[in-house]
Amino acid sequence: MTCTEFLALLDDLIDDSVSADTRAELQQHLHGCDHCEVTLNTTRKTIEIYRSHEIYDLPADLRERLHAAIMARCKKGC
């Protein structure tokens, strides 16, 4: 397997949607390729960081204000 072929399956590997045979091939490639190992690990870490640190969060007071405004309009029939 080449790096390009590995990269084409990177998302499926991360999302755990590869067959056992394909996974074994990917693992075999990883054993001999630092480049792809770093790419895989740091891509996983990228996702993990974005999942665990919510950006653009709504402060509670603003959220309540927006929520109240939506519901007031809905109760009036918009």
Binding site: T2, C3, T4, L7, L10, D11, I14, D15, D16, C33, D34, H35, V38, T39, N41, T42, T43, K45, T46, I47, I49, Y50, R51, H53, E54, I55, Y56, D57, L58, L62, R63, L66, H67, A69, I70, M71, R73, C74, K75, C78
Partner: protein, 216 residues
């Protein structure tokens, strides 16, 4: 990866459908539950597309109001959240067009870019690299990093990786094909990874532009 809405089986009714039925029956408090459940996610999607906090607040309100008005048109065979995201994305794009004085802005624009197609920065990251920054610093880094991506990439990454929607639901919500969602997700992941490397690369060898490439 677990998805938000894949917990129920094919034949089981999603809890949102029951809430929608209650709203249709005149129970406004059931809509209150739906708004609380999804308001933060909708706000984030709007912020990703509009890149403007005031616009995102307006979009969030307008999307929920429009969904309420159009609830009769909601088909129970699609998921309420994917239907709601579609409304929010359209509202966000309309808002963006107004700001850009009518310039067409589209979520399905396929941006051909070399960046991210082949990883260039091959430096490994420090262990737990985010711990070298305060929460506020990290927030600014993550925001700045994702801001530079095309809107379609940002929203696909947000829905798939942050909110945990399936590829199929993301495609439905954005009106994209499944291959288009997959292609954007791969490029979004790789571009974000490459950009974050500037901050997270391991200290040793930090003077170099990554380790020597040995791509075969």
């Amino acid at each position: 990866m677990a998805t938000i809405q894949s917990i129920t089986g094919e034949n089981e009714q999603h809890p949102d459908v029951a809430l929608v039925e209650q709203v249709r029956g005149g129970d406004v408090s059931a809509y209150d539950t739906l708004v609380r459940k999804y308001e933060r996610q909708i706000f984030r999607i709007a912020q990703h597309i509009t890149q403007n906090r005031e616009d995102a607040e307006d979009v969030m309100q307008d999307a929920f109001l429009k969904a309420y008005e159009k609830l009769e048109q909601f088909q129970g065979n699609s998921k309420f959240y994917t239907w709601l995201v579609r409304i929010a994305v359209n509202e966000s794009l309309m808002r963006l067009r107004k700001r850009r004085t009518g310039k067409m802005v589209s979520i399905d624009e396929d941006i051909e870019t070399e960046e991210g197609s082949v990883p260039r920065d091959l430096a490994d990251w420090a262990p737990d690299p985010e711990q070298n920054y305060t929460q506020a610093e990290l927030g600014r880094i993550l925001e700045k990093t994702i801001k530079g991506l095309p809107p379609g990439f940002k929203v696909v990454f947000e829905l798939r990786d942050v909110q945990g929607l399936s590829t199929e639901d993301t495609a439905e919500a954005l009106g994209l094909s499944i291959p288009a969602v997959k292609s954007r997700l791969l490029r979004a992941r790789l571009q974000l990874r490459e950009r974050l490397s500037r901050y997270f690369r391991s200290k040793k060898g930090s003077g170099k532009r990554g380790v020597k490439s040995d791509v075969h």
